[in-house]
Amino acid sequence: MAKKKPVQRTVQCYHCENRFDVSAKAMTVSCPACNRPLMVEDVVIKTAHAVRKLQTCGRIVIQKRGRVMADLVVGQEAIEVMGILETKQAKAGTVYIRPKARWRGDCHARSVVIEAGARVTEGHFVVPDTTL
């Protein structure tokens, strides 16, 4: 009987931008090009988080009561903000700023969706960012 092929997905290293396949269930991997550790799982923020860097190859979801204060936030697939994001720079595939969300910081993304009611205090937006 043929073995069932494991489900894979393509991710992009946030250090060297190399693209490669990983198992859909993988949480962390090492980049085959630069050998640096990568987080590939989705990150869900439900409370306040103050960090220097928050990076993942997947999605970052900041829920209603979530608050992220960071120098750099990278969600290669997407960043979805329903709570508060305060950063110097955010990079993402797609940025979703939901109705009651608050955003402060620069934004580099392939596309951005801002819904009515969102607050953007400060920020330089570059959309689409061709380097991503």
């Binding site: 596309s111 951005v112 009515a116 969102a118 607050r119 953007v120 920020g123």
Partner: protein, 136 residues
């Protein structure tokens, strides 16, 4: 403030080229090329065929074409999927559809348009269509 007449919309057709300053009491739709300043009490719609190099201030701004210049929406600014905006944006409410292109500074919220005691922060900083998009 002049009374809004939403049924009366001034349209600048796709074959129009305009350079200068325009003010509307009601709504307006730009479909051609525009260079200068637009002030409106009603809604300004930048159509899909429009190319504007302008500082725009209106109660409501809908961008469906290309704008190079600062945009202030006292109530609402909407960028459709076809929109291309290169300039700073100030709005009470902002809606950006997926696919829209936007390069510039952004301030959104009830306080954003009220800052400096003026409805237009970009105007108070002496912005011109040539100066937009530069980092402060």
């Amino acid at each position: 403030m002049a009374e809004m007449r939403p049924t009366e919309t001034t349209v600048l057709g796709p074959d129009t080229r305009f350079k200068g300053e325009m003010a509307f009491d009601g709504a307006a739709k730009i479909l051609g090329r525009f260079e200068g300043t637009i002030n409106a009490n009603g809604e300004i719609e930048i159509g899909p065929t429009a190319k504007c190099k302008a500082v725009i201030e209106a109660s409501s701004v809908v961008v469906d074409g290309t704008v190079e210049g600062n945009v202030t929406g006292r109530e609402k600014v909407k960028l459709t999927a076809n929109a291309k905006l290169h300039g700073d944006l100030i709005a009470k409410t902002l809606v950006i559809a997926e696919g829209a292109a936007f390069v510039g500074h952004c301030r959104v919220g009830p306080d954003a348009t009220r800052a400096n005691g003026s409805s237009s922060m970009v105007e108070s900083k002496g912005a011109t269509p040539e100066k937009v998009g530069a980092r402060k």
